[in-house]
Subunit: 188 residues, 2 copies
């Protein structure tokens, strides 16, 4: 993956997280990194190709710290939960972004099918990781869950995704803090 291709992906990711996929044009990327539209098409022939690349890179960057935590046996369930929350708390401040796949899920049927598949994969992977965490935490007697591990995973994931949308629409970081605090207390 060339350096330019990577910059294109990063700029596209940020633009999608701010405005959504449909509202981003090759011209926007062109303006942002000082390269002509045609040059972008060299790296990503169609917009859908770029969209897929963006989701894949984003998905990997979010899963990486979770995989690291899984491989370290000294990481407790509570540690893992904090690591997970950290990803969402990074959206606080003047950040105009929300979760990439949260945005994309909102405009789901405007997306090319290859991108829908990637969004689907992301949602499944996130919820699967949380399910495993809650299952382990429950079995080891660390967590008290408000439902099954799967149900708890869904509640956590959905609440955090919603919190990002609320935070931006209302313009208040407390939207994230409140949800994180309440979710944390929920499994004690």
């Amino acid at each position: 993956m060339s350096d330019t291709a990577n910059r294109i992906i990063d700029v596209m990711a940020k633009l999608i997280q701010t405005r959504g996929y449909s509202a981003v044009s090759y011209q926007d990327i062109s303006d942002a990194i000082g390269i002509r539209k045609a040059s972008i098409h060299y790296h990503f022939p169609a917009k859908a190709d770029l969209g897929v690349a963006v989701i894949q890179k984003y998905s990997e960057s979010l899963m990486a710290p979770l995989d690291v935590a899984d491989k370290d046996p000294s990481t407790t369930p509570y540690d893992k939960l904090d690591i997970y929350f950290a990803a969402y708390q990074g959206f606080k401040g003047d950040d105009k972004r929300v979760c990439l796949c949260g945005t994309l899920a909102g405009e789901y049927y405007a997306l090319p099918e290859v991108m829908q598949a990637e969004v689907n994969r992301f949602f499944q992977a996130q919820q699967a990781w949380l399910s495993e965490l809650f299952k382990d935490g429950k079995n080891s007697g660390v967590f008290k869950l408000p439902g099954t591990p799967e149900q708890t995973a869904r509640l956590y994931f959905d609440a955090l995704q919603g919190a990002l949308l609320s935070k931006r629409a209302i313009g208040d970081d407390a939207q994230i803090d409140d949800v994180v605090a309440t979710l944390k207390a929920l499994v004690r």
Copy 2:
């Protein structure tokens, strides 16, 4: 408000809920209701005008049953919660839609400012209603809350918004059922 104007609003609402605002064109509406593009501009000169009208009608339609419940003293806090959940459970089945303002929040910075203001209003109104419900339910000893009334309201709202996105991205109604069931049990 003319009959045609209302049909335009309804079609636009459905299209936004399916694909998002940016991806909907006057041509799409034209095709859907068998009227020329120019005729739509007669009713709504600019796309932003139509967007605002859509949000306002949607917002009123969601708040109406809540206001009715508030005015009837025989409605218990649990009744109100069920009424609130019902709005989200209506998205189950083959429905390709999610909450109108959930979609719009995802593409927030692609929206005209007048529409951003309406989305903001919707989020505030929804959370405010839930906050009141939880405050009353707590004061009357009916609810046991996992946090303050405001925190609980945010958790509920965000989780339900997220559940709609998950339901569609994953294609599983259980996403809504699980979250509703877990949230219900949370205040007992």
